[in-house]
Amino acid sequence: MEITKEIQRLMLERMWTIRNFEEKVIEVHEAGEFVGPAHPYIGEEAVAVGVCLALKDSDYIAGNHRSHGHPLAKGGSIKKAMAEIYGRVDGYCKGKGGSMHLADFSVGILGESGIVGSSVPVATGAGLASKMRKKDFVSVVFFGDGASNQGACHESMNLASIWKLPVIFVCENNQYAITNSYENSVAVDNVSDRAVAYNMPGILVDGQNVEAMYEATAEAVKRARNGEGPTLIEGLTYRFEEHSLGLGKIRRGEYRDKAEIDKWRERDPLDIHTKKLIERGILSESDCKKIENDSKVEIEEAVNFARNSEFPGPEDLFEGMWANPIPKP
């Protein structure tokens, strides 16, 4: 499959956006600038970026608690994402959602779910609507290896298959659910092997290779738009940081070998892609450096935007509860 130069470049840009965003979130969290959990996506950037660049704006995505990478990959506003994490009125969700619940409906992001596995049925339903309304949008849901053991995944994959829905199930297999390893929790070698149980293709992809993720997704999107039904894509990846901010300090290293972490850090998705772009002569080393730096500037702007945004006030408390409001009980 031919990937245009433009997209190859965009891949690097979006991955840097996520990487720098996450580094910044870690930094300002340590500085105490916001309260609440957050789950860094560092190391896994190629998965969301590869998938989302194979989508149109009119396609939908839904995600999980490891929640910053998906909307940023889909082209959601960086400023609003940061403001949301800061709990401010200019955030995606006006400060109501926070890190685990980023959502930008304006660009097809149906939202991240803090309850593991819980957005899988929802995304399946968006696919159902696509079919019913005879639209050609597809619906993608990101979930982890841990989530794959939730009943919700089973039920949704079966539904999507029998109804031939344009849904793409993307398992981000980073091989751990907090401290519990893949081997201790999933009974099958690869999550994608489970696709046979639903009579759909199951594709195992190197999740550090953004182009491979893109290609697998593009293929699945084609099938979906052709009415051929769902696909399960497993991106094999690794989180470079701890499960969540805060937890990091307590648990670092106690369940993962340093050697394993080092091995995976050598397969940094940004390095891998940068090298390819330079080798192919698409970008020079300094072009790449510029992308990295421009992104840092953009993130800095986002932080400033967030810092300058207001906290929601008492008058905002009940805002957004109901579409057709009811009296306070």
Binding site: S118, S119, L128, A152
Partner: protein, 319 residues
């Protein structure tokens, strides 16, 4: 105004809403052959694209309805209260919470029709009357129709409302008759089905009729009861209840749910806080015994509110 049985009133509301709006569709188990009685002929009229028989995956398809509603559809989901347990995550984590969590971006016009099949030997696994749990969690509107008119009018309102709604359909009413109109019935407006001056009786779902029967009996004994059908529990028309208690000074609540943390508990607590000075005697809850639903008819009939229990309670408030 035409007379309809309750189940047909539901059927008519669904059909009318599906005709009106092509985005309305219905999904559930065995609905094409209408085994629960309220989806007759829909398959014939609307076809397989808009009348979906689902696999036994309630969490999956309840959630799929939510997802579909997010992007333009208006699903009606048919189920039974007792099958909601397997799907609680989608009902609570998604249907109830999503809109607020996303700062008002999400709009979820999804309707769940949950039948409460109690009273005829279905035992503990099939007899839930679990609306109080959904009252505790904000985010879902709750309708409890008590007549054919309610059944039709509240369902039409539910389909047009942009928030998630659960309609708890009392199967003890399925065969009852009553006049229906073509109008929507607004949420949050209680109806006084009988005026009276001595004691207010609030009934819920199937207990409305019991309350009315009790009131009619008591009238013969010279006790004048005002009977209120709240129609929806979220929103709850507390003002109508408070005004009635202001007039009568007494309150009995008849609620088929388990009595602890019931709708009756909630209504009692509202009046104990906001209507305390109106009260001339204790507020009495006539709700289901705090026990599971036993299979044997000799036991099951002891559990729920009935005309006798309500009458006794009213008399107690008059002592």
């Amino acid at each position: 105004m035409t007379e309809k049985i309750f189940a047909d009133a539901i059927n008519e509301a669904i059909a009318e809403e599906m005709r009106r709006d092509p985005n309305v569709f219905i999904m559930g188990e065995d609905i094409r052959l209408s085994i629960y009685g309220a989806t007759k002929n829909l398959y014939k009229e609307f076809g397989e694209e808009r009348v979906l028989d689902t696999p036994l995956s309630e969490n999956g398809f309840f959630g799929a309805a939510i997802g579909a509603s997010l992007v333009g559809m208006r699903p009606i989901v048919e189920t039974v209260t007792s099958f909601m347990w397997v799907a609680m995550d989608q009902l609570i984590s998604q249907a109830a919470k999503m809109r607020y969590m996303f700062g008002g971006q999400a709009t979820l016009p999804v309707v769940y029709r949950a039948s409460m099949a109690y009273g005829s030997g279905s035992a503990a696994h099939h007899s839930d009357r679990n609306y109080p749990m959904f009252m505790n969690m904000p985010g879902i509107k709750i309708a409890v129709p008590a007549t054919s008119a309610d059944a039709k009018g509240l369902l039409k309102t539910a389909v047009r409302d942009d928030d998630p709604v659960i309609i708890f359909e009392d199967t003890n009413l399925m065969g009852t008759r009553g006049d229906v109109t073509d109008d929507e019935i607004p949420f949050g407006k209680a109806v006084i089905i009988k005026e009276g001056s001595d004691c207010t009786i609030v009934g819920i779902a199937g207990s409305v009729k019991l309350a009315l029967d009790a009131a009619n009996n008591l009238e013969k004994e010279g006790i004048s009861c005002e009977v209120i059908n709240p129609r929806t529990l979220v929103p709850l028309d507390k003002q109508s209840i408070l005004s009635s208690v202001e007039k009568t000074g007494r309150l009995v609540i008849a609620d088929p749910a388990h009595k602890v943390c019931s709708a009756a508990s909630e209504i009692s607590s509202i009046v104990a806080e906001e209507g305390f000075w109106f009260l001339q005697s204790p507020i009495i809850k006539v709700a289901s015994e705090q026990v599971h639903i036993p299979y044997a008819q000799s036991l099951e009939k002891l559990v729920y509110p009935n005309v006798d229990k309500i009458s006794t309670a009213v008399k107690k408030t008059m002592e």
